[in-house]
Structure formats: C-alpha cells, structure tokens
Amino acid sequence: MRFMTAAAIGLLAASTFLAPAAAPAQTPRDTVVMAKAIDDIISLDPAEAFEFSGVEAVANIYDKLINVDPKDPNKLVPELAESWSVAADGVTFTFRIRSGAKFHSGNPLTAHDAAYSLQRAVTINKSPGFILTQFGLNKDNAAQRIRATDDATLVVEVGKPFAPTFFYYCLTAAVASVVDSKVVKANEKDGDWGNAWLKQNSAGSGAYSLRTWRANEQYALEANPNWMKGAPKNRRVVVRHVPEPASQRLQLEKGDIDFARNLSKDQIAAVRNDPNIVVESSRKGYILYLGLNQRNQNLARPEVREALKWLVDYEGLEKNLLDGVYVQHQSFLPQGFPGAIEDKPYRLDVAKAKELLAKAGLPNGFSVTMDVRTTAPIADVAQALQATWAQAGIRLELLPGDGRQTLTKYRARNHDIFIGSWGPDYFDPHTNAQTFGMNEDNGDNAASKTLAWRNAWNIPEMTKAISGAVLERDPAKRVATYEATQREHQKVSPFVIMFQQIEVAARRRNANGFALGIMSDMNSFAAITKN
C-alpha cells in the first residue's frame, strides 16, 4: 500500500509541477509554426532538392533569375534578372542582373554568382540537374557556355534553338537558384562544389536563411531583412515534422501551431466548423492516374484501354472519396499550366465499356492486378475501381505495398496496372508531355525511362510531335501542339487520367498571407502575418 500512496503523491506532485508549463499554448507572435510531414527532404542544396518539402524550403531561401507571376502563371516576372533576351541565332540568351542585391552573408550578388550557380547545378548533375542539362549543357561545356561577361551580364548558350519560353520556364525551377559562390567555394570538399555542406546549410539571397535543420525533426528559417522584395512580414518560420495528421489537427485546434499542412479529407471537414480555423486550398500540379502496362496482352488492346476510361465513376469518386482534395481532370497537363485543356470526354458508362470489351474479344472480362500503395486516398480509389470494374466482368486483384515497393516494381515494368500520382518537374508543358507522351526507345536499357516507357507504350509519332514542340519558337503554335497532343492522348493512351490534386493548408484565423502555388516552389512564407 505504501508504494501506491507514494506513487499517487508522486503523480500529483508531477501534475501540479506541470500545469503552468503547459498552459501558454500560443506560438510567439513573430514566429510562424507549421506542422508538416517533411521526411521526404533528402537535401536542401538547390541543385539537389527535388521533393515537395525540400523544394518548398529552397524556394524560400534562394532567389532565381526569373520567376512565374503568382497571379498569372503564363507570365514571367523579373527576380534577380531585371531583363533578358535571346539573340537572333536562337541559342544565345543574355540576362541583365539587377544591381544592389545582396546575399545573406552580405556579399554582393553578381552575374558571376549566377554563372557559378548554373555551372554548379549542371556539373554536379543531381536529380533535378536534367532540367538544365536537357538544353545541351554539361560538365564539360558548362564553363564555356555559361559565363558572366561582367558583373551585371550573364550569357548562356544552349545547344539548339529551343523554344525560348521552354528555357525561361525551366529557369524558374529551384535547380536554377542563385547561390553565394564565395561562401559555397569556401565550403567545398574534394571537388564536391560544396554539395555536402549545402545539403544542410544555406547560402542564398532569398526571403529567409536557414537557421537550423534536423532531418525528420524540423527546420527553422530566419527572415532576411535585406531581401530584395522587402523584409518578410514575420521574423521566423519553424516547420516541424509531425507525421500523424490527427496530431497535426489537435495542435492546430489548440493553437500550438499556425498551419497544419497534411490534414486528411475528414479532418479538413471537421476543422471547417472551428471558428478559429480557416482552410485554404490551391490546385496543385499533381495528377492521379492509372498506368496500363502494354506488355499485358489484354491491356494492350485499344478497346480495353478505352473501356477502362469509361469504367471510372469520376463524379462519384470526387464527391464521396476525394471532396476537397482532388478534382476531376482527364488530360496530362494540370489545370493552371500553359497549354492545359479542360476537356473531360469520359464519364462512368458500364454498357459502353462492355460493348468495347466484347469488341476486343473479351465479352466476359478478364483478370488483372493493380499495385496499390496503402495510403489514403489511393487505396480507397483502388477499392472503388475494383467494385466498378466487376460490373463489366473485370476481376481486379489489388496488390497492396509500401510506396517505394510499388514504385520499384513499376520502374521495372513488372506491374499490370499502377495507380499513382505524378507531379510536373518544372513549370513548362514539356515536363508532362515528355513523360506521358514520349518513348524514344522501348527497350529495357533505354536511356530515357519516361512513364510511357514504364508502361511499354511504343509511340514513335507522338514522340516526334512532342520533341518538335520544344523547338517551336512561336509560343501560340507551341501551345496549340500541346493541346492537340493531349486530345489524341486522351483517346489512345494507356493512361487513365482521373484527377488533379488540391493542396490544402489549414491555418489559425490570425495567420494570414501564406501563398500556395501550383508548384511546391511557388509556396511562399514571406507574406505571412499574425495578428
């Protein structure tokens, strides 16, 4: 009994000791606190970061030469470059760097830094490196083709007369951020261009500098009072890794965080009723689709491909499973991209699908498997499809797996059907056109393994049309090519494109000004205020 009494007294003492410590559940006025799953961050080096969260952080630390107008994504706006032009030869681009910009270190930002940054990204050529190397730049010619002719002039010579808009849009990607060459050079090790150091530190000129970074735990940003666009409206941003959405919700309701970034559909619905919480949303570039492997004899029949497009209850899924997090979308360019189309030719029509299956010689349907990662809402959508397809006699077996596991199988072309999402790599129509519509070599050892390749879809003609579009110098004609290709793609492709993602950020009512864009690198913290 004595033990019990002692324990009870102990607990009581502990709770009185605790009470005042836990009471002030308010975040500091000048600090913005976000809860987000940030375990996808591999690197904070702008030449290497390529995941959602990493790119978002990089975009708030570094500046680029030019950027997309957040109000009109079809328009380019100056950032570090105050003007730019292309010579008559179509390959020589000149950028005039604005004067007076400074890095966080206090070093002045010049064209030499810009040249160094692009050379660096091309030379170390990490995951996003191809966004620049696709213009014929590589580690051997970088020094000669990317150069600063004086402190204010950057010249880049690309390999072919590409569509100028294509090159400009690629320069808005995080990989083309400008780094402080003096600081990075000082932290170089074994010719790594400072990569090891820059993974975990920052050397930029953007709205914030990186204050702390602990993988799988949190990162903190410190406002840059000398930012070229004016000091951010808050002093510090802390992004904490909170993997469990339910925990994020509790923290937001309690007021311990200002933003919850990963709430599920049900949680969003629940917090909408809280007067202290506002839900913001914005269309993201991510597309939810099915990939039908053309090595499967049944899926290779054109009628079967079409039938499956009639066998999706687009409306029902949106309403019942995806409300507020996905919207219907049936073409490979996400809404908000240059060249995107609104056409939605398909709806649920079981009779039509049956007809098509009969035409394909499969009046009784067939059996097929689908690799499904076991996360919401993908797993739920897959189950709904299973039920719908059964009505047409298609026996769908779901093979659950972890994200990396299903992806490994998909990349090796060992799937029948893959359900997943795809996001654009950079803000230009070519990114999705290329992956969904180009397959230069359908062999197992192809150099370019696009999504079309992963599904073994052999399409020499569409490949040619799309590779022509990147050389089209007339922007209007270029857009027309993408529109036409998408309409053809909708008809014949082995991709059942179903939905476009909506990014949702729930916030405390007093935390205003977070800008969400279609790409992760358009998400900006600088205007967030708390009152």
Partner: protein, 339 residues
Amino acid sequence: MNLARTTRLLGREVAAVAVTFLGLLLVTFFIGRVVPIDPVLAAVGDRAPAEVYERVKVELGLHLPLHEQFWIYLRKVAAGDLGQSVLTSNPVLVDIGRVFPATLELATLGTIIGVSLGVPAGVLAAVHRGTWIDQAVRVVGLFGFSVPVFWLGLVGLLVFYRVLGVVGGPGRLGVAFDDIVDPITGVILLDAALRGEWEVFRNAFSHLILPASVLGYFSLAYVSRMTRSFMLEQLRQEYVTTARVKGLPERRVVWRHALGNAMVPLITVIALSYANLLEGSVLTETVFAWPGLGRYITNSLLNADMNAVLGGTLVVGAVFIGLNMLADILYRLVDPRAR
C-alpha cells in the same frame, strides 16, 4: 589460476557477443537486400534520369556482388564507421546520437512509471486474489494488452493536451523553447538540468510525460501480470507460512519476504520490457512526433536506407546484450544462490 579462469570466461563472453553481432548484421543485411525496394530510389527520388540513377548506384556500391558489399560494410564497421545515411545525409553515428537519447528518455520514464505502478498492483492482486482488487488489476492489464497504442496515444492527446491542457503536445519541446539548451547528452531533461534551464526542463517534461505514460501503461500491464503470478508462487511457499507463524506483521511478510524473492525473476521481466521500449516504439513516436530510434529505423527500412537500418540494428542489439548483462549482475546481487 583464478585470473586465468576469469580471462577465459571473459574471452568467451566477448566472443559470444561478437558472434551475436555478426549474425545480427548478416541477417539484417541480407533481409535489406532481398526486400523488393530499390535503395537507389531513396537517394535520388523517383524522377532522376537514368544516368544519375546509374551513377548513384555505383557510388553506393550497389553494383557489386552481395558478399562483397557485406565484406566492405564489415570492414568499415570494424573501423568504427557505420557509413552515411542516404535519407538524412548524416553519418549514421551522428543520427543515432540524436535519435537514441530521445528514445532513451521516453523508455526510461515509461519503465519507471510501469514498474512503480505495475509491481505494487501485481502484489495487491496476488494478495487479494479473487477479490475485486484482483479483478480491477486484471481489467486494467487486459485493457493495456488489447488497446492499440496508436489509439491510446491519440485519446491521451485529446484529453490531456487538447481538452484539459495539462501536458504539452506532440514534439519534444515547445517552439519557444527550441535551441535554448546546447545538447550535452542529447537527453533534454538531463541537459536542461545540467545547464540549470529549469523552464526548459519543465517544458520538456510536460511534453515527455504523456508519451511516457502511454508506454508506461503497456509496461504496467505486462509487469503487473508477471508480478502477480510470481507473487502467487512465493505466497504458497513454506517460508511464508513460517514467517506468519512467527508472528511477523503481514505487511512485512508480503512486501519484504515474498516480494524480495519474487524480485529475482521479475528483474529479467523488467529488463526485457525496458529493452523492448528502448528499441523504440514506432507508433507512439509517430503519434507524438517524437524523433526516436523506432521511427528512424522504420523510416530507413521503408526507404531501403541500409546503412541506417544496420546501424540502428546494432544499437538495438547492444541494448539487448547490455541489459541482459545488467540483469545478470542484479540477479546475482538479489539472489544469494546465484553468487
């Protein structure tokens, strides 16, 4: 003579530990290589072009035959280098130096809670066998066995954090208390106390107490069941009857004599349950956004980040072996026959 024997025994012990570690590494290594996950993906992501993919594959040494990869890894470990984690870009040792103290803090307080409540509860249940007290302890224990930790954690947060507001939320510290205390040991409570930062200490404690109680509850469920059965065993022994006949107060008979003897097997039980918690509790760590060892290993495994997984496995192995040794020593102290 005696010295030679001690040396021989010690040598045997060391050899046994070495073989255990080797086996542990071997199994983990090959499991990691047979799981159908591509480790290069963790390093470069899904969208890397083929050339980058191939280059990184070579950089990671994954193009070599399996046995060669293992041999290279072993040589590095022998030199004290656990390699680098692909996911965090840190040396694995640095990562573990950060996540292990977080788990240690949680598991230690969890075990203290579990033992300080579980042992008395088990004793009471045994003494009052068949009464409502026994039933109550049983129900509490059963609940602990059957309720998912995930659910218990979320409900705990809802009640004590959201509604009552008596504890801190997910995470190890409130934002305002971040980066005040320079780490010495990595165990925030200890560091804050050593530096005399009592505000930080209180905040850290308020964040720690709920997840520790959740873990402690599971430990309590187990420890109380085991204590009860060990006590029943002891209470049947003749020496207990003798003590009672001699007129010793019942309290002394139960808490000193019977529990003293039940302590011997109980030490092993407690050590094992502590070791279990030290492995890291993935679900608890997820709900409470606790950057601990369990989540580190699991996340690494799901991304086939094998250096991190192997490093984590070594730590877990060391914890088990260490606690076993500790239990042996305690055992000898408590039980005169084992001396």
